[in-house]
Symmetry: D2
Subunit: 318 residues, 4 copies
Amino acid sequence: MTRDLVSGGQQIHAPDDLKSLLEEIHQQAMKITEGHVADYIPALAEVNPELCGLTLATLDGEVFNVGDTHEQFSIQSISKIFGLMLAMERLGEDLWDRVKMEPSGQAFNSIVQLEWEKGIPRNPMINAGAIVVSDVLVSRYSASKNAVLSLVRTLCGNDNVYADNIVHQSEKEHGHRNAALAHLMKSFGNIDADVEELLDHYFWQCALTMSCENLARSFTFLANDGVCPFSKKEIMSKRDSQRINALLSTSGMYDQSGEFAFTVGVPAKSGVGGGMIAVVPDFGVICSWSPRLNSFGNSARGMYMVRELANRLGLSVY
Amino acid sequence: MTRDLVSGGQQIHAPDDLKSLLEEIHQQAMKITEGHVADYIPALAEVNPELCGLTLATLDGEVFNVGDTHEQFSIQSISKIFGLMLAMERLGEDLWDRVKMEPSGQAFNSIVQLEWEKGIPRNPMINAGAIVVSDVLVSRYSASKNAVLSLVRTLCGNDNVYADNIVHQSEKEHGHRNAALAHLMKSFGNIDADVEELLDHYFWQCALTMSCENLARSFTFLANDGVCPFSKKEIMSKRDSQRINALLSTSGMYDQSGEFAFTVGVPAKSGVGGGMIAVVPDFGVICSWSPRLNSFGNSARGMYMVRELANRLGLSVY
Amino acid sequence: MTRDLVSGGQQIHAPDDLKSLLEEIHQQAMKITEGHVADYIPALAEVNPELCGLTLATLDGEVFNVGDTHEQFSIQSISKIFGLMLAMERLGEDLWDRVKMEPSGQAFNSIVQLEWEKGIPRNPMINAGAIVVSDVLVSRYSASKNAVLSLVRTLCGNDNVYADNIVHQSEKEHGHRNAALAHLMKSFGNIDADVEELLDHYFWQCALTMSCENLARSFTFLANDGVCPFSKKEIMSKRDSQRINALLSTSGMYDQSGEFAFTVGVPAKSGVGGGMIAVVPDFGVICSWSPRLNSFGNSARGMYMVRELANRLGLSVY
Amino acid sequence: MTRDLVSGGQQIHAPDDLKSLLEEIHQQAMKITEGHVADYIPALAEVNPELCGLTLATLDGEVFNVGDTHEQFSIQSISKIFGLMLAMERLGEDLWDRVKMEPSGQAFNSIVQLEWEKGIPRNPMINAGAIVVSDVLVSRYSASKNAVLSLVRTLCGNDNVYADNIVHQSEKEHGHRNAALAHLMKSFGNIDADVEELLDHYFWQCALTMSCENLARSFTFLANDGVCPFSKKEIMSKRDSQRINALLSTSGMYDQSGEFAFTVGVPAKSGVGGGMIAVVPDFGVICSWSPRLNSFGNSARGMYMVRELANRLGLSVY
């Protein structure tokens, strides 16, 4: 570790220290039994609620794993970042005519806001926004699922990333609220593709399964101004990388985004599968996973672990 | 200037360069004639719309001024930060039971959100939240206006800060929307003080007049983990300083906060008087002022100047 | 009784029958103990919840009283009709630019609707609408309270109608929600008078106390095309009388108006003091009173009594 | 004509008079050129906007026709009454657990209200409510379209009633807003059937084409306490007939229902095809048709004709 943590004063020199810190925090997190596993589809409800992983991937190439960091889980809304990346690449600035970049100020899937704003979602991190993003993918890529798979596998350096077919089908069967969002936006002219086809992509994308380690690796480029620290490949421009971090900061944690900025202070994205990634610019990426969710839909143990780690190391960007 | 700008790569060594850059940006901004001066009260409507100031105060003690940086203007919503500081000091964590820390996702004074959330405002940067904060001040300080004046004068190092009496009275006469917010919150039990007394404080605070230079100096402590770089005095803890920056990042620029994070990437607060302060952690504070407002209520020239400066110097925290 | 009940087929000949029917229904109603006395102000909360009166005043001049029909109670929202009559007289058709005549479709004092519709209330039977009506009275009558008192005393033929001073003051102290409505409408330009003065009138009017018999007599003109059957005096035109009945039919029973039309089928107005008047065109007026309210704010016993009486006699206008 | 019009005082003796009156009113209506033909689907947009029909069917069996009363037009929302009749028959009181009977207070297809009230529509006359009704039909009738056809043909005494296939298909292609409503309600558990199948029924039903005369005849039973005056057959109980009239009175004319009650005063239902039926209890049914719609979606000429006729004859039920 060579990084002089921003405004921290203290320097973190030794990887051993970090590993110990992660272990200590993970141990404390295991005592938390609050929250409930997402149960809107059977496939998610059956996950062992005690599982808990914590990964830290730093920009100098080290990866610290504690707990169940190699278990595959449903990444759910974390996949919204992958979709967004491809839509930004394909549509450029025009994307922002179809989805805004403002925090939503309401429960993550509220249809009311969408009605008020004439079918233009507040941002790409809420369901409505990610559905518009999926519409771009389905309409602009000849094989939208392949495009996502290819991106994800490149980012995490693992060719064994797939969507869980049972979760995918189950989401479709129970996805009437998202279908309502899609049809409402189509009635406002903000959806091009066939709704069924578009939702198939959207639910498939949510059903991607990955491990903590894979996810942490995938997003290190966001902590490194767009450049993957492992492959040295430029994934996107520094400007676009900062923009995604800005979106995660204001809108990544559902209706707990403000509190997360307030108490943790780094860009982050969570999913109802219990996963969460947190980007620390110039330092690295944290990924946590544990299935029980708090009332906002964020992992209870994950919130604890990421907050503790950020506070102990002084990682807030503010 | 000794700071190696975070993730910028380029170093800014010479104050002369910065001054030239500010002058160039200011010159470009003067060509912008879009927007309208706030006209809901006569006292604001009469301000010369061409005035335009830009100040940069760095943590090593230098202050760069370009344009009308010594003109006094109505700081309006920027005063919400001063009020919040005193309320946090007096009430501690209990404050956050009465006002949340989530972005509002709607126009800055929407009464709808307040109704939905049973009288608990989304954050202290919207009017409803600042009214709750004023309630704390009026209820917990024996002389709430003196407390604010004393704080402001200390922060900017200038004993000649006052509220404009004409603006203060005019706000009261035209402040029926804010009165509606206060009465609605009182009906939900979230206001202790007499509504009239509380609004008197609130409107008085909005009517404070300051210059760009005074404002920039006032908020340097937010860029310095709570410590004033001039006096070396600890204004607040590092933690609270970061929390205020987090609030400014998600909620400081009305319903343009997300776009501001996306395109600029630093904590900031604007006011309908045309002022804006932007905090760059570990670097300094920018203050801009020009009266013509865009459709979100933010200064059109100010937005340009702060965005340009941040992008040119690579100041985004993300 | 000489009336051939509209579409009823059966004729009601004997007053004795009606009296017996009223007594039977009243007796059944006394068994109902559901609901809660309004307790937002102490003066209302202290009323004996067991009191229960039922009056029927027919157009041929007979008045049937059962139970506590001479007890004075707080008429509350029933007073909205008196205010509306005076405002219609003074402002004519212009009144309907300031308050609409559409059912509100939400809780009776929702501020959300008012915000959406830019300060124009849905109808004069919800609080916001009655506040606009009070604004007309305060602005257009030199002594608005006297104008109301004079009207009410004439209508019921009783000079001993007064507002309860304790209720009046108590309403003012607890009336922050109504103050919010008034200030919000003033911010939209739909209130002329000083808010405090206007609310004083509004709360005073709500605090009028009357008996079942007085109220039933007062509104017989609405069942008689605008002509008082006792004095033969034309109170208003047939057209205006029908218009008020239309408003009561779509909006008189808070958010239970539709169900009331569906199950009872006559124009009616209730108040949180537990009173209710129901107009049966060409037949007469029913007034019920009992303090315990159902979840919509309508008297539980009153709902039973009026529905039973209407159904037994076939009084629906539909 | 032998009817002594309720509260009218004047008697209408001669059919000739009525015919003249209808002709005079129709002639006046032809001068109205305001409004726009519904254009959300091509099939409706192509209708000749000048067509205009007015039918009055009285309970003593006479039918007066003026203008284009034998032209077939798309009955659209008027079909909601037919659907409701079948759902009431099949589900009885349980229907009212799934759809309320309260006026909606907002634009006729607002999704916001539905979200607030957890998937329970305000009443069966708004789209959401009619979709729930269609769900009942599709789920409870083996051949729901046949059931509707059979009912309609019996009511109007004409076996040549069909749905327009082009309109039906066109509605399906442009029906994303209604699909959003259906999916949203299904997400709340208030839809049993497959959404696509249900919407097929709903759009088919809206695409029924009938003439003014057919429609007027169809609904005479509502003016006659549930008994068809032509066939003497009891279509439904008096109580249910009054209930439907109550629903039409509070909710039949979109967001102009209150104004319609206020200015006309009889139960009525309109459709965006330009048709309207108005029920005058104990007297008869008026049906008007002309394609140009006012801002509320009601026929401009139709509104004039029905209001004039009601006011001239004193038909208000209030």
